[in-house]
């Protein structure tokens, strides 16, 4: 939690006003939209399209900044000419993301870190600069949520440019966190003032989980080789659902797709659970079995990232638990490691 620069109290109808004002400015507005029982970020043309009751989107907000596939370069060879290269058309579009959850916005810190570490990722950086995030406090959670165990909370304003604390009557307390948030708040000048009290919808109660991340880190520091990894990974089927829908996972692969004349170089999500992820051109694979891949996933989030960048690469959104077809449960894995460390 950070103290906001400024607070604004707005009455019901503020979202309509904001969305209309943004469309007037030719800004793309993305918001959670309900689709077949789940919510996804979609471009909306009116605030009424936005979901009112949702826990979290199926796909994390990372996909706005780091899409699952994107063209980097286009190439073409015309008869009698050399190959021509042109930059792909992926100019960042001015965007406001309305209704992102605190866990997902917390995860942007991980993405910002890794995409600006030894190399500034141009495409990520341009989209980041063109996007304003309006976070909203969670008023509901489900049994997979464990943000509090990762140091977050259901009403954490960290990572938001403008943060929304909903009131029961449709109004909200808006917290301006930075310049970008202030610019958005200006577009709400003249919004209907709130009526009555500034009573908030109480934030969701999220359990912290039966684990201790400090103990987990201590254990991981000294247990690269341990039978635990074989045991915990037997169930894992080695798909990429947990990584792809994780708000902090950021690995990618670069591929060329072409017919014999022209094509594209593309960047696609990739995943350390895949058997081929670490396979060398020689044929050697340093992570030949599933347990070494499962271990990497845990180590990366709860040890390597901390060693290198000083923070965990998990925000407790619970998506990996919700989507796992094998019933693998990260909270249980962390709890078992905590027990082993005690």
């Amino acid at each position: 939690m950070t103290d906001p620069r400024e607070k604004l109290v707005v009455g019901a109808g503020w979202q309509e006003k904001l969305v209309d004002a943004l469309h007037g400015d030719n800004v793309r507005v993305l918001a959670p939209v309900l689709t077949e029982g789940t919510a996804e970020f979609r471009e909306i043309s009116a605030a009424a399209e936005m979901a009112t009751e949702w826990i979290n989107t199926r796909t994390p907000v990372k996909a706005v900044l780091f899409p699952r596939t994107e063209a980097l370069v286009e190439f073409e060879r015309r008869p009698g000419e050399d190959v021509q290269f042109t930059a792909a058309d992926n100019e960042a579009v001015p965007t406001v993301v309305l209704g992102a959850r605190p866990c997902d916005l917390n995860a942007l810190d991980v993405l910002d870190t890794v995409f600006n570490w030894d190399y500034r990722d141009k495409l990520y950086a341009e989209r980041r600069a063109a996007t304003t995030f309006v976070g909203v406090a969670c008023t509901r959670s489900d049994e997979a949520c464990f943000c509090t165990g990762m140091g977050g909370r259901a009403d954490d304003n960290e990572g938001s440019d403008l943060f929304v604390r909903p009131m029961p009557d449709g109004g909200a307390v808006l917290e301006v966190m930075n310049e970008r948030g202030a610019a958005l708040a200006k577009r709400l000048d003249g919004a209907a003032p709130a009526v009555g009290t500034e009573e908030l919808v109480p934030p969701a109660q999220v359990g912290a989980g039966p684990f201790d991340t400090e103990k987990v880190k201590e254990w991981l520091d000294t247990h690269f080789d341990d039978d635990f990894w074989t045991d915990m990974s037997l169930k894992c089927l080695g798909c990429g659902a947990c990584s792809y829908l994780c708000p902090t996972c950021h690995c990618f692969d670069i591929v060329d797709e072409s017919d014999w004349r022209k094509g594209q170089r593309r960047r696609n999500w990739d995943c350390c659970s895949f058997a081929q992820f670490t396979k060398h051109a020689s044929g050697h694979n340093p992570r030949p079995e599933q347990h070494s891949r499962c271990r990497n996933r845990i180590m990366h989030k709860f040890k390597y990232f901390i060693d290198r960048f000083g923070r965990k690469a998990c925000v407790g959104c619970g998506r990996c638990i919700r989507v796992c077809g094998a019933g693998q449960d990260l909270v249980d894995i962390l709890a078992e490691i905590t027990t082993a460390a005690s």
């Binding site: 037997l234 089927l237 792809y244 060329d256 797709e257 999500w269 077809g325 909270v331 249980d332």
Partner: protein, 283 residues
Amino acid sequence: MQDLTQLLRETAEDLLKRKAVGVVIGYGHTGSRGDMTAVFARTPQQVSQLALDGECYRNLAVYLNKPEVRKLGRCAIVVKGCDRRAINVLIRENQIAREDLHIIGITCEGVGDPKMQKCRFCTVHNPPDCDTVLGDPVDIEPEEGEFAAVEAFETKDIDARWNFWKEKLKDCIRCYACRQVCPLCYCKQCVVEKNIPQWVETSSHLRGNVMWNVMRAFHLTGRCIGCGECERVCPVGIPLGLLNQKLIQQVKDKFEFTSGMSADEKGPFSTFDLGLDTDDGIL
């Protein structure tokens, strides 16, 4: 169901104690949430993790393909009728030998609440050719036709069907959960991972997604036993079962063949018999 759980534990304990198997692959309510997931009992003490109830919807046969599981020794495996059919295909395709398995069949009236769609037209409530069978024989009639969903879908015109699939397949994130959970997708290297040259585009744009999903279904033609695991695990809700069911229907119609009913059967696409070939073909 409690007594069946007890019987299963006793069976498993006996197998492990006399070292007839190295592992019993079964179901159990694991973890803090108590979800019914796979359990790998390797010692007599671990059999207390095993359980049986109406939530045994996973097809555990997929684990027979995992090198990490095979390393544990001879396998005992808990199967429903549908899962048993998958093992028949693995045997007929020489992926596992019958004698390397102790099959613990459970009779099944259907799983899930509400009952999964595949259970509504199931005809294999009593798994055949098992070493141990738990549960009373089940004799219930199918609630709907095997291809009811396909037939309902095919009342739409071709444009509507294509638009439906485009809309669904555009969401595919290429996590390959469908492939990984499939007991019959056992290739050491999937064709989508062969990249010299790249046969199937790995990008999750519509073209790549259509190619992947159609190819996955095609490779299961005459093999898929309709356990529905691919559809169950798809994180973006693509109705893959509908695609599989269409191919099952075609194979039944053209070849009078239903996959997985016996380990001795020969799949239509793995049979070469000139005597049966009455077509002039292209040569």
